[in-house]
Symmetry: C2
Subunit: 335 residues, 2 copies
């Protein structure tokens, strides 16, 4: 008899057991963990609960030809942690829901779980429950993440006012260029390795989000999982204001810009309309700049770049070479 | 120009707008509702948080040939509310995550949402967030539901002791027979209409679960979404005890029993191994029977049936015609 090799060979209960033996001991606030009908948590005193859900679908968000299973698990959690970070929340727990083709290799399943759990461990996130279902279709990984935040430290999209500065963390367009290079088989080593890693191994800006909230240093915040262009539009619309972006200030890594140019694309447009940048876009009120300086000291080596200004007139404008053009509408999921 | 007819024709933002215009005004405890990066909730004082997630996959849990879209939305929420009920929790909020083929008719999408929201309204559940993703594969509806419960009113699977009575709500096997009859095109009107409705329109036992918890009337509880056989095994194993079921006492509706028999199947085995019974299986300590009488008075017309006893010896046994046989292992998702 050969050893089990697909998820169908071992069945649902054994898959759940494989997850549970990988999960570290439950935190004290978890009154009932995996194994009952539902998980039961003790709320944190004087905190609001923050909750978000996100799904990764094979063939839409990742291609198994060049996305290792560990990266799938990592990215599924990163998307939700990035949403919590944009609210200033400290992540605490997550639910992991798999929809799996029966022929999926068991080793790929455990690697997805391990990728998820490694990122969870790094942020002190407890896996408290989930679900496993077979499917005749592609892999779907659906993650619900929960965190907590004090009411006065919460960040929302709607607080920007004319005159506020617009800032962004990290790099823009690296993940989109990396995805492109991975698909072309050109992201191993060399110039594009960093961009490939930006797609496969994104680091949600949990610490930055928490610090911006704790220091009350940002007037508004949004995450850039659908790209900078989309984030700019969302933040502007929610705040009832407009945003002017300085194209020359955008932190597009040179290898990403060169990659887009070599493919005949306008580098700036490609960088801001590509998705998968798990960065934070946030606004800083000039008179509260000292609070922001505190955040910059505390956040460590993470690059933070001023890229524009909030203005009264609605809409989003990109300045380049002295000319103003509308910011494109960003990544559209369904077209 | 023709009117939009598929979800791809209108795009993700319009689908989200369609959901939001259907959602009733937000409750006061919802600090940030749909539209930001995450939802923000005020916890209920002196309550634990209870959270569960469940997915319905087209071709596995439902077949669109005989499952109307409204029933898909209803069933997706019912599964999670049944899990909360098994913990004695009052449901409060839910996240709704869709994975959709682009060709899905827009009218089917809105009907799924309406089916979800109708059941949510009936139980005072607020839709606080979610996600929509396109997919090359089948429809997946993933629901995370959250509720609250006082610590001492929480129900778990592990509290049964030898001598406790085993009870079940409602009917067993009706949904499985109904699914079979629906697939055969024989559930419209006539004897099997009730079974068809048990599959398409299951009523999670929220009130019963809350009353069992509030009156501290049950020593253990589990929901039967994977069928009675699975529930009996789960409750027995979690409690470190065994369970003896009286086959003659099981509330299998006569049309369901007749349906299984007409298909050449053993009716009792088919009824307890079929899934989709969103009923509660719970244990009652004989000396606390007066608390249970209070629950029976308060729960109204719902049938509650004593079907067995907890015993010291591990395992689950089915008695019929004076003979004991092992309870089969229940519905296996992956084989």
């Amino acid at each position: 008899m050969s050893t089990p090799s697909s998820v169908a060979d071992v069945g649902e209960h054994a898959l759940i057991a494989l997850i549970r033996e990988r999960v570290p001991p439950a935190p004290a606030w978890l009154a009932v963990g995996p194994g009952d009908d539902a998980a039961v948590l003790e709320p944190e005193r004087n905190r609001l609960e923050v909750v978000t859900t996100d799904a990764l679908v094979e063939g839409v968000h990742f291609d198994r030809a060049f996305t290792p299973p560990g990266a799938i698990g990592h990215r599924a959690l990163a998307a939700s942690l990035s949403d919590l970070a944009a609210m200033g929340a400290s992540p605490r727990s997550a639910l992991l829901s798999f929809v799996l083709p029966p022929a999926l290799a068991l080793a790929d399943f455990t690697a997805m779980v391990d990728g998820f759990l490694a990122l969870a461990r790094g942020h002190g996130v407890a896996l408290i429950g989930g679900n496993i279902t077979r499917s005749p279709g592609p892999i779907v990984v659906d993650v619900t993440a929960m965190g907590t935040v004090r009411r006065r430290r919460m960040l929302v999209r709607s607080g920007a006012e004319p005159g506020d500065e617009v800032w962004v963390s990290g790099a823009i367009g690296a993940a989109a260029a990396g995805l492109d290079a991975l698909a072309a088989g050109l992201a191993e080593g060399g110039d594009m390795a960093g961009c490939g890693a930006a797609f496969l191994d994104p680091q949600p800006r949990v610490k930055l989000g928490v610090l911006l909230g704790r220091n009350r240093a940002a007037s508004a915040c949004v995450d850039l999982s659908d790209g900078l262009a989309d984030g700019v539009h969302q933040l502007a619309a929610a705040s009832g204001a407009g945003i002017e972006i300085d194209g020359g200030a955008l932190p597009v890594p040179p290898p990403a810009a060169a990659w887009f140019a070599s493919r005949g694309r306008d580098a700036l447009t490609a960088a801001i309309t590509g998705g998968d940048d798990y960065e934070l876009l946030f606004t800083v009120r000039p008179k509260l700049r000292s609070r922001f300086r505190t955040v910059r000291r505390q956040v460590g080596g993470l690059a933070l770049t001023k890229i524009g200004t909030v203005r009264r007139e609605a809409g989003a404008v990109l300045l380049r070479g002295g000319m103003a053009e509308p910011v494109p509408s960003g990544y559209i999921h369904f077209r």
